[in-house]
Point group: C2
Chain length 371, copies 2
């Protein structure tokens, strides 16, 4: 979905980070810790020895009370962390240089004395409270701390966030340090939920959490690591489009931040030549115009220009837009409002057709049944 964690995962050092796009303005919404928490906020509450900075105007807030307010912008969680700011690269001065987003992971398992708490990666689904599972709600209610990208934290109903001891949210950039923060808090003895929209396994943070745990010399078992699945963007968008995905299907992200573009192109060629439906995540950003154009070009070398294509922007959100078009028209829509990083695109198969404003990919029953 538009709102899937993929946007988080892939946007780490793209132009969305602190740039003047309309997306970025929504990223710095109010957090529980102070209301006006912005890019530099890094409040930590890990066990008794927390030494953190909270730049938000958090007077009287739940977080302000336990913040000792030193000048280190990294969270140490009782550890001798030397990590950089959890979001220092996401401010207004974000540059095109990937290295400006490099984040180091600091504390290791030796730095923690406490009995570890639990760490759960929770998928919020499409982005409205009704799209969450009961299990996701329960996991968040049971967590001491909830950690996530500000926009996703804002998706959680107040009755859940109000129950948490602490909410730690940072803007779009900073997922590595945010994930580390969640791990440090768990290792320091807190039960922590790290959240994302969609599903934690779809271009999202469950893998990063395990990788960072390992790098710290910890284990997944030590924090009883668990994943609570959610409805992924592909499913939320397909539901809005009708029934485009009922056969074999693939998901491909056009973000080349973490995967080289030649690899993405090769994958697109291989699946476009077979009769898969193709769900495209992270289709467009200012810095990746060429990826989108290239993808459209590859798809058109294997499929007819009149192949149905569904476009869903901001599924489940207030600014949701749904469009069904044809593959031949897709490239020029790249510059339009409906396609950005919060858009998911579903490219039909050669059998997919449009009927009554719905995309239908026949399952094959018509070959066996008389109806």
């Amino acid at each position: 979905m538009s709102t899937d964690t993929n946007a988080d995962a892939d946007d780490e050092s793209t132009s969305n980070c602190g740039a003047s796009s309309s997306e970025s303005t929504t990223e710095t919404s109010s957090s529980k810790c102070g209301g006006s928490s912005t890019t530099e906020t890094s409040s930590s509450k890990c066990g008794g020895s927390s030494t953190t900075e909270t730049e938000a105007s958090s007077s009287g807030s739940k977080c302000g009370g336990s913040s000792t307010g030193d000048d280190s912008s990294s969270s140490t969680c009782g550890a001798s962390s030397s990590s950089s700011s959890s979001s220092s690269s996401c401010g207004a001065s974000s540059s095109d240089d990937d290295s400006s987003n490099e984040q180091e992971v600091g504390a290791t398992i030796e730095d923690f004395d406490a009995e570890p708490g639990q760490l759960i990666a929770v998928g919020l689904g499409p982005g409205h409270p009704e799209g969450m599972t009961e299990r996701a709600k329960d996991a968040l209610l049971e967590a001491d701390h909830i950690v996530g990208y500000t926009t996703y934290i804002d998706l959680i109903p107040d009755e859940i966030t109000d129950e948490a001891e602490d909410i730690y949210d940072t803007p779009m950039c900073g997922e590595v340090s945010r994930t580390e923060e969640s791990i440090d808090r768990a290792l320091a003895g807190n039960d922590v939920a790290i959240v994302g929209s969609g599903d934690p396994n779809v271009y999202a943070l469950s893998g990063l959490a395990l990788e960072i745990l390992e790098s710290k010399g910890a284990t997944a078992s030590m924090v009883d690591f668990d994943v609570v699945p959610g409805v992924p963007a592909a499913q939320s968008c397909a539901a809005r489009l009708g029934a485009p995905l009922v056969n074999d299907t693939v998901s491909v992200s056009l973000s080349d931040h973490l995967v080289p573009m030649p690899e993405i192109e090769s994958r697109l060629h291989s699946v476009a030549s077979e009769n898969f439906t193709i769900t495209i995540y992270n289709p467009w950003s200012r810095k990746r115009r060429e990826n989108f154009e290239k993808a459209c070009e590859i798809l058109l070398t294997h499929r007819d220009p009149d192949t149905p294509v569904g476009i869903v922007h901001g599924a489940g959100r207030e600014d949701e837009q749904v469009m069904i078009t044809e593959l031949g028209e897709l490239e020029e829509l790249g510059e339009s409002e409906i396609i950005d990083m919060t858009t998911t695109i579903v490219v039909g198969t050669e059998d997919t057709y449009v009927w009554d404003d719905r995309m239908v990919t026949p399952r094959g029953y018509e070959t066996k049944y008389d109806y």
Copy 2:
């Protein structure tokens, strides 16, 4: 998941249908309409002119009251339907002949006088009530009638089914007639929810519903057709395995009931040669041993024998089993209990590794960040 609608969708005329497998014994569980509803039950409650058969011992049941009990085993819903029994091919005498499962769709839009109700395809998620979304629960609570495969109906909490005017469930075979029944009930003026586990777009019934609507001369708009997405099997299983699916991924069903095996083989070749994680649905049934063997063989021509493979049987169910193994060991597991039609298999990429009993597919952060 094990319990995804794919099992329903693909098992239509496979050996699971009425055979002596352990799966089939669980299919004929009690329905709301009589308690002992079995394969021949076909209770209908469509508008005022319903003429149906209920073979279940439904004295005093909610369904018995409106059943007029004629001898037609098809539901006519106020229409002059000539369709065959909704589940006549699923009894004990199921044969290998696909034609024995042919089901015709009967009534057309001309046969209905009422103002149509709504038809919603609802995904139940992994198979336990906590895995349902709030929206799915609400949709079921608002429906007059709930229609589905008996095993899936049994997954719905009693507090929801108790609110419904009627529950129409049939065993594994009969999805075409069951879907038609749901449509006929909606066209006759009832608000109907048709349910499946997982997501309605994953090898499931949302497409079939649209196809049958069209064949009846109706439209999707006429019944305000909508899809409520659910957590698909791939996500439920990935969550149990750790973080195997965080990059580009594909879903392939090994059922050749509706898709020819050469097409499935070609797809497997194309995606196995690229670095996709591969989620395999419907991996094994007695009649499809060869498909599974062939799939293992194809995967091994492109990936190392030590590629991690996750196997999840009955995810979220009481009989859940989780195993992480290697691709080279997969084929021989085909004959073991853990792999059947309720199993989902996740084949890792060349980067996937096993750490602390979890499958991890690196997202690529390690190339950009120092941790």
